[in-house]
């Protein structure tokens, strides 16, 4: 599982769900923040006509955090990073901590399982939503013209 994929799933998962999922793994590593958690903004860009030159659409809130694990036995010094839209410091810190832990062999499998299940939950939600939208799709039919 790639880091960007993990980051995406963690950023798209509601914080409460992530908190519960993380607690269920029972990984207890002390960490400390080396950057943030810090809330700022990202300038969001669009493209003219969807495919043309970029332009600045407007900004969105963004929170980031970078942590390092304290425990010397798991090779501390590896940084974990997290970014998430919005202003939730805890969410960004959680993502960064999970990213840091996922770099260690002994945690990786458990973490990847969690990511996989969060991802399939999200896909199920998207599927559900898409079916609701699909019900509003227009079925055109042509009226038979009389002779």
């Amino acid at each position: 599982m790639t880091r960007p994929h993990r980051q995406r799933v963690l950023a798209l998962t509601p914080r409460e769900r992530l908190e519960a999922g993380w607690a269920s793994l029972d990984i207890r590593e002390n960490h400390r923040c080396v950057r943030g958690p810090q809330t700022g903004m990202a300038m969001v860009r669009g493209r003219m006509g969807g495919t043309g030159n970029a332009f600045n659409l407007g900004e969105m809130t963004l929170t980031r955090a970078s942590v390092v694990l304290d425990d010397g036995t798991v090779g501390s010094g590896l940084l974990g990073h997290g970014w998430v839209s919005g202003r939730d410091h805890r969410h960004a810190e959680l993502i960064a901590m999970i990213d840091a832990c996922a770099q260690h062999e002994r945690f990786r499998e458990r973490i990847d399982e969690l990511i996989a299940s969060l991802y399939s939950e999200r896909q199920a939600r998207e599927q559900q939503n898409s079916r609701e939208v699909a019900a509003t799709r227009v079925d055109f039919f042509t009226l038979v013209r009389g002779e």
Binding site: V34, R35, G77
Partner: protein, 203 residues
């Protein structure tokens, strides 16, 4: 790859910014900055590192003299400030330099008459900084005159002393040595007392 930064980024940078502002508004006064240690391989002191952390962000472009450049400094700057590094000194909002840098013909931005604020601010790592030295300042923010010693920095000081001829365009400079910092904005008149003395004697 642990780079020391401000422990409380919001309040620490406000405090440091206030000190830099004070230094700018009273040219030549010395200020002790309580700032974190710079990255290990960087040849700058805590005061200059604190100034970089305070002044640089995603919207600023920084030019670094090769003599001060190091991979760790770059990584740390990027990690904490997000500032962009530029090879083109004319685009630099800030330039991290030594006094010798100014001996070379490098074109820093001096702003223009509509936007004089677009000049480069030099962040100069000096080897010596005291309130007793050959350079004598006068001008805004100085009641009569003020003296500064900056070690061997002739190229730097002569570059800054021609600032007056292009006012309101020009270069501002923040000089730092260890935890100590002083500023010479473009509005300051600079005279070398020793040269004046010599000139007097030769007459």
């Amino acid at each position: 790859m642990l780079w020391p930064a401000l422990t409380d980024p919001v309040h620490d940078s406000q405090r440091l910014f206030r000190q830099i502002l004070q230094a700018m508004s009273e040219p030549g006064t010395l200020h002790e900055l309580c700032a974190p240690c710079p990255p290990r391989d960087a040849s700058i002191g805590p005061a200059l590192w604190g100034a970089l952390l305070t002044l640089c962000d995603l919207d600023t472009q920084l030019w670094i003299d090769p003599a001060l450049d190091s991979p760790e400094l770059r990584d740390a700057l990027h990690f904490h400030t997000g500032c962009r590094l530029t090879q083109d000194a004319t685009l630099a909002d800030f330039a991290l330099v030594t006094p010798d840098t100014l001996a070379r013909e490098i074109d820093f931005a001096i702003g223009n008459d509509s936007y004089p604020d677009r000049g480069t601010t030099l962040l100069v790592a000096v080897e010596y900084l005291s309130d007793d030295g050959p350079w004598q300042f006068s001008g805004p923010g100085i009641e009569t005159q003020r003296c500064l010693g900056v070690g061997n920095a002739h190229a730097l000081m002569s570059r800054l002393s021609v600032n007056r001829s292009r006012f309101p365009c020009g270069l501002d400079a923040i000089l730092a040595c260890g935890t100590r910092l002083a500023a010479i904005p473009r509005s300051t008149r600079i005279v070398n007392r020793q040269q004046e003395d010599r000139a007097c004697m030769s007459q």
